[in-house]
Symmetry: C2
């Protein structure tokens, strides 16, 4: 079942939930609550061979913090449900929680509960609770024609890191390999950037994170705002060594950049006025395109040299990031 | 890893979380938030052969509502993470959510988000958010010497229902079998009872639910309050047909009553004054014992005819409810 069909099914069955479902987070305005939940499953979202329990603890929290970042909110509390195979070493739990402690301390988030159960595969389900704290959270549906499309940093690095972890190629300088592996294992939630964008934009911005890929984020904002986008590939931040690694991997680097996923950058659309404010405050966002009319066919047109690639549901269905699926 | 060891490990690693972890719910006083999370895994907590997707939807929400009930809070929002095998029928999702809709409507709870991923086994992780709304939630550690031990209803029925489902014995009258099966599949969260007990008791009561068994609930309250209890077995509400079914099953009914689990009743300790208030308001709670000194050996002594059974960590380790583990 595709995630979009799933969301539509829930909206049909639970119409009163419609206004909450479809963003990285749900926002309960009357309580100022920002809520998000993410489940990571062994061999679907991660493999024990490519991530240590400590790093898994960090990453599990980071992906949820990234959802809060995409709303522009402030994280506060986490609940962690951990389901483990019976033969797992008890050290796993200790190392996992040390990772959790490290990142929770860094971002002032308190673990206030959870659950421990048995399972065949390691399953981690985390709920994070944040607050708008005086600011209305961003929504994917806020993009308007004329807005500027921005991002917070590099795309494709995480996919390159995963490839390096899985293939264990030896002839790439360690420093370069580690840079990509770190991008994959320890993604940085863009909390400050999200907060800055939402705080300084009087016209509410659209925002989402690139956990499922840059193409997915661009398209979802287009779809939910009923707009299209013109993106200049040359402006998308990409690590200078990415194309070398892609060459060794015999993969088109565009595939990693657009469909790799798990970079946990933010994609946003802000008004020209907001962009000027962000620039004047030296808040670092990168302009990669602009929002145009969709003519009821929401998609992102990406200019690559003299070519134009169209990102829409068809291209994402065939290329999209699917967590090993 | 035992749940108690797990909780102690988290408390050691995350000392600032200590005050939140160890009850059915966490209470964030400054935001009046009541938080709980429960994960249900196929073949650990349920089997597809013994529960329909619709009933599974109901039960998944009910067990979380029961946690809110054990705090005396008011449920409000739910996040549902559903992980499914790739070959599952799409009708499963629809039927599951129809069950969710049914019980959420009944208890004014709004589904505001969640997640859908792939997994080998059906995995359901639900977070529920409620509010104290003017009342301080109950805690397991509130029991005091001299308090009265109360419960909200029958124990053992759910275990008998599970036995009937799994063995499919034919020669038990359908009406009787269905009564127990319903107790297992459609547990009733004791929200009104929890709310009444917490609202009318000036001295904060101890409360928890019997999801992991009556013995577990009695012992956990004793342990966390450093008290003991004298329980009169004759006063514990038990369905009149339970011993007949246990006889057919060749099981000691005491095992179902104390260690069966999943009855989702509440166990509480209230002051004599509070009990009188509850009685005067015709709030139906059943007195089953009283709180006594623990002498640093917290346990529950259960008087059965002329015998006394001791419930402590040793008896629970050997007999306790372990979700198929």
């Amino acid at each position: 079942m595709k995630e979009d069909n799933f969301i539509n099914l829930i909206k049909d069955l639970l119409p009163e939930s419609s206004s909450y479902i479809g963003d990285d987070t749900a926002y309960i305005a009357e309580k100022d609550l920002i809520l998000t939940q993410d489940t990571l499953i062994e061999d679907v979202h991660f493999r024990q061979s490519t991530i240590s329990p400590y790093d898994l603890g960090i990453k599990s929290i980071a992906v949820n913090l990234s959802d809060i970042a995409a709303s522009g909110g402030i994280p506060a509390y986490a609940l962690i449900s951990l389901s483990l195979p019976q033969d797992i070493n008890e050290d796993f739990v200790e190392e996992f929680y040390k990772g959790v402690r490290h990142i929770c301390n860094k971002y002032s988030t308190l673990v206030v509960g959870g659950d421990l159960t048995k399972a065949d595969k390691i399953t981690i389900s985390i709920t994070m609770i944040g607050f708008g704290n005086g600011v209305t959270p961003a929504k994917r549906s806020n993009a308007k024609v004329g807005d500027i499309v921005i991002t917070t940093g590099e795309s494709g690095s995480s996919a390159a890191g995963l490839w390096l972890l899985e293939t264990q190629v030896k002839d790439i300088p360690e420093e370069i390999a580690n840079k990509f592996i770190t991008a994959h294992i320890n993604p940085i939630p863009r909390l400050q950037e999200g907060r800055d964008i939402v705080s300084f934009c009087k016209k509410p911005p659209a925002l989402m994170d690139t956990s499922d890929g840059l193409a997915d984020a661009l398209y979802k904002i287009c779809l939910q705002s009923n707009v299209s986008m013109e993106i200049d590939f040359g402006n998308i931040p990409i690590d200078k060594d990415l194309s070398d690694i892609a060459h060794i991997a015999e993969i088109n680097p565009l595939k990693w950049v657009f469909y790799g996923g798990e970079d946990y950058q933010l994609i946003g659309t802000v008004s020209q006025e907001c962009l000027e404010t962000l620039n004047s405050k030296q808040i670092s966002v990168i302009v990669i395109g602009r929002v145009i009319e969709s003519n009821n066919n929401p998609c992102a047109y990406v200019k690559v040299d003299n070519d134009v690639i169209t990102i829409n549901s068809t291209s994402i269905d065939s290329e999209g990031f699917k967590h090993f699926m």
